[in-house]
C-alpha cells in the first residue's frame, strides 16, 4: 500500500510538471515566457526551443509568427506540446543531438528551465553547439535557475530555494542543478551578453546572449 501511495504522489505527468514548475518559480516562469515571446521573438524568426516541455512557450512564439522547432526527450511532454502548439515542429531529440541540425539556421535558440536539468558536460556541449547553429547576430535566450554570486544573497536564497526544490521534486520528480557561472561560460563560448534580468532574489535569471 505504501508503494501505491508513493506512486500516486510522485507520478510524473505533463500537467504536474507545469504546475510544479509554476510553484518552483512562484509563477514567474509564465511571465518570463510571455516576455521572451513578445520582446525577443519576431515574425519570421527561426527558433529552436531546447526542452520544449508542454509547448507553452512554443505556442506563444508560433502565435507571433515565428517558425518554431522544439525538442524534448519526453514523449508524454511532446504529446502535450503537439496539442498546445500544433504549428510547431516538435521532435524527440536529446539536447546533445542538436549538432545534427543545420548550421547557421536559427535566429533564436531558447531554453527555459531545461539546462538546469542537464549535467555539466551536456551544458557545455549545448552552449558550444548553439553557437554553431545560430546565425551571426542570432540570440541564445536562457531562463533558468542560477547560483547566486554573493554569499549573503546565497544564504537568503536558501530559504526560498530549498523548500521549493523539495516541492518541485515531489510534484515533478525532477531534480535540477542551479547553473554556475553561466554568463562567463557564454562569453567563453563566443557570445556577448546583451540582457540579464533577475527574479526571486537572483535565483532565477533571464539571460540573452548574442552570437557576434
Amino acid at each position: 500500500m505504501s508503494t501505491l501511495v508513493y506512486m500516486k504522489i510522485l507520478e510524473r505527468t505533463p500537467e504536474k510538471y507545469d504546475r510544479g514548475m509554476r510553484i518552483l518559480t512562484l509563477g514567474r516562469i509564465d511571465r518570463i515566457k510571455l516576455e521572451i515571446a513578445s520582446l525577443w521573438v519576431k515574425s519570421g524568426h527561426y527558433v529552436l526551443e531546447i526542452g520544449c516541455g508542454t509547448g507553452r512557450l512554443a505556442a506563444l512564439m508560433t502565435a507571433r509568427g515565428a517558425h518554431v522547432a522544439g525538442i524534448d526527450i519526453s514523449e508524454s511532454m511532446l504529446t502535450a506540446a503537439r496539442r498546445n502548439a500544433p504549428e510547431a515542429e516538435l521532435i524527440h531529440m536529446t539536447a546533445t543531438e542538436i549538432d545534427k541540425l543545420e548550421r547557421n539556421r536559427f535566429d533564436r535558440i531558447v531554453a527555459t528551465l531545461s539546462l538546469s536539468e542537464l549535467e555539466e558536460d551536456e551544458i557545455a556541449f549545448v552552449l558550444r553547439d548553439s553557437f554553431v547553429l545560430l546565425k551571426t547576430g542570432g540570440k541564445l535566450i536562457i531562463a533558468d535557475e542560477v547560483k547566486v554570486p554573493t554569499w549573503r544573497k546565497r544564504f537568503l536564497a536558501c530559504f526560498v530555494s530549498w523548500p521549493l526544490s523539495v516541492l518541485t521534486f515531489l510534484l515533478t520528480r525532477n531534480t535540477t542543478h542551479a547553473l554556475k557561472r553561466l554568463e562567463g561560460r557564454l562569453e567563453q563560448t563566443g557570445f556577448r551578453i546583451v540582457a540579464r534580468k533577475n527574479y526571486l532574489l537572483g535565483t532565477l535569471a533571464l539571460i540573452v546572449a548574442e552570437k557576434t
Binding site: M1, S2, T3, L4, V5, Y6, M7, L10, E11, R12, T13, I73, S74, E75, S76, I91, H92, M93, T94, A95, T96, E97, K100, L101, E119, D121, E122, A124, F125, R173, T175
Partner: protein, 374 residues
C-alpha cells in the same frame, strides 16, 4: 574508507532514494584503444561495485557512467531515466569516440527495459549489445559471448544478501507510511511506536529473507504464514520463559499477524522474482500476458537475451521465439522495447519492473515507445 562504509549503510536502508555519482567517463585499470567500453547508471553504489569488480577481475575497460539521476540500472531504465537518449548523451559528451578504435559497447542487461538497441545503433553508429544481468558475471560472460551458455548469466536471482537488503528497505518504506499512525496510537498506548518500529523491521527482514521457506504464494499468503508461525513461537516463549511488555497476548498476536500480512503483501514489490499484486492493481490488469506473433517473429533471439526471467526460448527448428514461462514474466517490457519487428504483444504498460522504485518513478509510458529521428 569510513565515509564509504557510512554511505553503504545509508544505501542499505535508503535505496528508495537516488544517490548520484558524477556522470562521465571512468577508467578501470589501464584501458587502451582496443579496451572494452561499458555503460552503467550513476547510482553511486553501482558505480563503485562495477569499478571494484573490474579491478578484481583484472579487466581493463572504459566505463561510461550515464546520467540516470542517481537511480540504479533496472529502476532507472524502467522509469525512463536510463534510456536510449541517456546513452546517446553520454557517448557524445564523454569523448569516448576519440579514445577507442572500435565501436562496440556493452550495456547492462537490465537496462533493456529502457534502451532500444536498434535506435541506439542508428543514432550513434555504435554497436551495442546487452551484457550479463550482474556485473559479477562479466568475466564469465566475456569468455562465452555468442555461446548459448551465456544465458545462465542472464537470469535474475534473489540471493540471501539481496533478500536482506530488500527486507530492510521494505521495512524502511513501510515505516514512512506507518510512522504517523504509530505516533498517534502512542498517545493512548505508551511505547507502541518504538516497539512497532522494531517489530516492523524484524518482520520485514524475515518476510524477505525467509521468502523461499514460507508456505503459500508470494504475497499475502507468505506474510500471513510468517505471522502465524511467529505468533506460535511468541506464545510458547511468553508462557514458558519470558515476559515481554504489558500488552495482552491476544492483542500482540493480532498485531504481529496483521503487520506480517501487510509486509508480505508488499514484499513482491521488493523482489526481482515476483510481480507485485500492487503493480497489477495499478496497471489495471489481472494477469500479465505476453505473446509472440509467429508471423512477425524473425527468430533473432533478442527477446531471449534481454528477458531476465527466461520467459522466452528460441525454437531452433522453426526459428521463432516462444513464450515458455509466462508465470515468470516481470512485465518489465524489455522484450517489447527491443523486438525489431514488434512481434511481441502485451497487456501492460512497459517499463515497470516489480520493485517499488519503478512503480514510484514510472511515468505514463505507452506500451511501445516510438523513437522519432531528427
Amino acid at each position: 574508507m569510513m565515509l564509504n562504509l557510512l554511505k553503504d549503510i545509508w544505501f542499505l536502508f535508503g535505496r528508495l532514494f537516488p544517490f548520484p555519482a558524477k556522470p562521465g567517463l571512468r577508467r578501470a585499470g589501464n584501458p587502451d584503444r582496443l579496451s572494452l567500453v561499458l555503460v552503467t547508471c550513476n547510482f553511486e553504489l553501482t558505480v563503485r561495485k562495477v569499478l571494484r569488480t573490474l579491478e578484481c577481475d583484472g579487466i581493463d575497460a572504459w566505463l561510461l557512467v550515464a546520467p540516470t539521476k542517481g537511480i540504479n540500472v533496472w529502476c532507472a531504465a524502467s522509469g525512463g531515466y536510463f534510456s536510449t537518449d541517456t546513452v546517446v548523451s553520454i557517448i557524445k559528451t564523454s569523448g569516448i569516440e576519440n579514445l577507442v578504435d572500435h565501436r562496440d559497447i556493452i550495456l547492462p542487461q537490465l537496462s533493456a527495459t529502457g534502451i532500444n538497441i536498434w535506435a541506439l545503433r542508428e543514432r550513434t553508429g555504435w554497436k551495442p549489445r546487452f551484457g550479463p544481468v550482474d556485473i559479477k558475471y562479466l568475466a564469465k560472460y566475456l569468455e562465452c559471448v555468442g555461446d548459448p551458455f551465456e544465458r545462465k548469466y542472464r537470469r535474475i536471482e534473489f540471493p540471501l544478501g539481496d533478500r536482506f537488503v530488500m527486507g530492510t528497505n521494505l521495512g524502511f518504506s513501510s515505516l514512512l507510511f506507518f510512522i504517523l499512525p504509530f505516533l498517534v496510537a502512542s498517545i493512548w498506548m505508551d511505547g507502541l511506536w518504538w516497539k512497532s518500529i522494531l517489530l516492523l523491521f524484524f518482520l520485514a527482514i524475515l518476510n524477505s529473507v525467509l521468502v523461499f521457506l514460507l508456505p503459500g504464494k508470494p504475497g499475502v499468503q507468505k506474510g500471513f504464514s510468517l505471522g502465524v508461525i511467529l505468533s506460535v513461537i511468541f506464545v510458547v516463549i511468553r508462557q514458558n520463559i519470558w515476559t515481554i511488555g504489558h500488552w495482552e497476548t491476544l492483542e500482540q498476536i493480532g498485531w504481529i499477524i496483521l503487520l506480517s500480512t501487510y509486509l508480505g503483501y508488499d514484499m513482491p514489490s521488493w523482489s526481482p522474482l515476483w510481480r507485485a499484486e500492487i503493480k497489477e492493481l495499478v496497471m489495471g490488469v489481472k494477469r500479465t500476458l505476453v505473446e509472440v506473433i509467429p508471423e512477425q517473429c524473425i527468430g533473432c533471439g533478442l527477446c531471449t537475451i534481454v528477458c531476465p526471467a527466461g520467459v522466452f526460448e528460441l525454437d531452433s527448428g522453426i526459428k521463432k521465439s516462444m513464450v515458455v514461462r509466462l508465470d515468470a514474466c516481470q512485465a518489465c517490457g524489455a522484450c517489447i522495447e527491443n523486438c525489431p519487428k514488434e512481434a511481441i504483444k502485451n497487456n501492460f504498460r512497459s517499463g515497470t519492473c516489480s520493485c517499488p522504485t519503478c512503480t514510484v518513478i514510472n511515468s505514463v509510458k505507452s506500451s511501445k515507445r516510438k523513437v522519432l529521428h531528427p
